[in-house]
Symmetry: C2
């Protein structure tokens, strides 16, 4: 009897959770499991704002995939998926191809620029380890260059953050800690630095409790962040950004650094492979399979599920991706054993905490609102929990956050 | 009786040596001593190649001037000298002016670009703390950017060092240590990195013993440095450099980083203030005074003295600047006390050691040639000695080099 072949694309939260659960759920004789990932490492997407600001080294936000998978049961292939040929049950990789009986697409999202001119060319995005360390180095280079110039360009010290959503706010919180350090490091006057958050929507952190949002804004403003809410970026240029002002006018904001943190869409491979999608996200069945594809699961940022209570999509979070991975692994194990009744996925939102820097945060956990060091502690526990779920206690010891006040 | 007013311009090796010796040699009632420096700190010019490569943090190569002067005896003014009006016995500063009875010009040298096109705009120079940390950050940014680009530009990872003199060779030695670290840090293939040393003269380290030079070249080549000796830089561009090739041809070398380490000239204030000079250096009298100026001493990189034995100028080194500072302080003390017979300066070259990175060097000390860890040890002792001479044992403890194998 030929073994069932399962291919998992992506070693992010969803893909790694699927792989680590599946390697326990099925025997070596039942299925051949292949995990494909672009890099040899997994990175904590939800920690990238720290690596980008330079408050946490990028090696702290990643670990080797091989450290958490059982290589006797899961074969790891380091390669990049280019296209999925569902009719042929085949994945085209940059350096080869893979056939599958069951496929899990867990490739993560991509930055959504909404067609704003110049954004791809002139703005950075907090999307992976490579981009995070480039942002950190870019900001440091601006500070290092400031004092070497005879005519000082103060705009070198201006950082524009596009978007006041989760990533934008967490990145601003880290900058609040990092900027005073950089000023000291490079003999730069703190008063010269500007951090400007530009958000097209009329509010900060949409969906969050207004009381918590007020706390966050006050905290960040105290650290020197200027908020330009209800202000749309029209264009990014080599010199900064151009924003809308009133009905027809525009205004230029000069800035040495522009970081776009305002949108995420599904992976481009989704549309390229012919799946029906909205902004790269496939509205999956409750069993996490793509409609019309009995053998293809889609989880994480490229999947779309509606929260019936508010009739809006669930946000693309690590929490949901990991829970999907658990369900996906159980459903795959069932299919391998010839069962056709699959489990229906239901997110269990334990809480959401948004960090505001080193020792402050806002959030809701177990139905309770919290702020300050208590929320910050909770945030670190959530970060450690993600490590624990995928790599057990040894990974928590190695990569966990213990800088608890 | 009006106190004699002595103004010392510059807190480099020569200026600080003059100030610290003078504060002991003359009483508070005899003279008023003012030390003027652009920055609040002194930096070790001879260690800047380490800060530029990133092997030593820039805060390790500097210390506060106020830590080593006796502020009861020496008044410290943080300001930049703009021009000296010798007829009026006055120094024009950016934010004021200072009158003097005796003046010490110890302002250090400047990078000499020999009129090579584009060098000022497109190349970095290892000249001060600001430029050193900018070079470090620039190189790191190139490495950080490499993996974010879809089309890899290998030339980002090419570093051209212009000049195979002392600074160029020492910088190459540090790069030899630093590049493997950067490759690891930014997931860059070591094979993709190129370090090219371009030197117009037909030899490396002119004036050094050929046996030692061969050792240095072999050592650096083993670390991956390519030498292009007898090759003149014709132009620096935003993409790299253009060098001469044969009689009339030129060749482009693309490089993300070009560091010019090939020449030093005297301070531009010298010519601006009407002193007769060659490339900004004044051929001073044996008592270190400028010819025709009985009350102006010039020491360090802006002074020129001939080594009669070989009929060539002494090189601008920290060793000579510090020795000049000692003589200068004694001569000032004599003048303050009305004595007109001044001491004649004679350099006492104890040795010269050129570092080749962390644990290797070449050099001559106490008349003996040495290489390897022995020479490297000697180099660190020379560095520590400079600290000791100016700031005593406490400065050695604070800033000294003790990473001795």
């Amino acid at each position: 009897m030929r073994k069932v072949k399962i291919v998992i694309l992506g070693a992010g939260y969803g893909g790694l959770m699927t792989a680590t659960r599946l390697q326990k759920a099925v025997g070596v004789n039942e299925a051949e499991i292949v995990l494909v990932n672009k890099n040899s490492y997994h990175y904590e997407t939800t920690w990238l704002h720290e690596a980008s600001a330079g408050t946490l080294h990028h090696d702290r936000v990643r670990y080797d995939v091989k450290n958490v998978i059982d290589t006797n049961k899961v074969q790891f292939v380091q390669d990049t998926a280019v296209e999925i040929k569902t009719e042929e049950k085949k994945v085209i990789l940059e350096n080869g191809e893979l056939e599958y009986d069951y496929l899990v697409i867990a490739l993560g999202g991509e930055s959504e620029t909404f067609g704003i001119k110049g954004l791809k060319e002139h703005a950075f995005s907090i999307v992976n380890v490579n981009s995070a360390r480039q942002i950190r180095e870019h900001i440091e280079y601006q500070f290092a260059t400031y004092n070497t110039e005879i005519e000082k360009k103060d705009e070198r010290l201006t950082i524009v953050v596009g978007g006041a959503g989760f990533t934008g706010i967490e990145f601003l919180g880290e900058l609040g800690n990092r900027i005073p350090e950089l000023c000291k490091e490079y003999d730069v006057d703190y008063e010269k630095v500007r951090i400007i958050c530009v958000e097209a929507a009329p509010m900060v952190l949409p969906g969050f409790d207004p009381e918590l949002v007020n706390y966050a804004v006050a905290h960040l403003e105290k650290k020197g962040v200027e908020f330009r809410i209800g202000t749309a970026i029209k264009e990014a240029t080599p010199e900064g950004i151009i924003v809308g002002k009133g009905e027809d006018e525009t205004e230029e904001i000069k800035a040495g650094t522009v970081v776009w943190a305002a949108g995420i869409r599904g992976n481009s491979i989704i549309e390229k492979s012919g799946f029906e999608a909205m902004r790269g996200r496939v509205k999956v069945q409750l069993d996490l399979r793509a409609p019309g594809h009995e053998n293809v699961f889609i989880i994480g940022d490229s999947s779309l599920m509606i929260n019936e209570e508010i009739n809006r999509p669930y946000p693309p979070t690590a929490q949901i991706a990991m829970q999907q991975g658990e369900t996906c692994a159980r459903n795959l194990a069932a299919l391998v054993r010839g069962k056709n009744e699959l489990e229906q996925f239901k997110p269990d939102i334990k809480g959401t905490v948004c960090s505001l820097g080193e020792d402050d945060a806002i959030g809701v956990a177990f139905g309770k609102k919290m702020v300050g060091s208590k929320a910050s502690f909770m945030k670190k526990m959530i970060d450690n929990r993600a490590l624990y779920m995928i790599g057990g206690p040894s990974l928590v010891m190695k990569k966990g956050k213990f800088n608890i006040l």
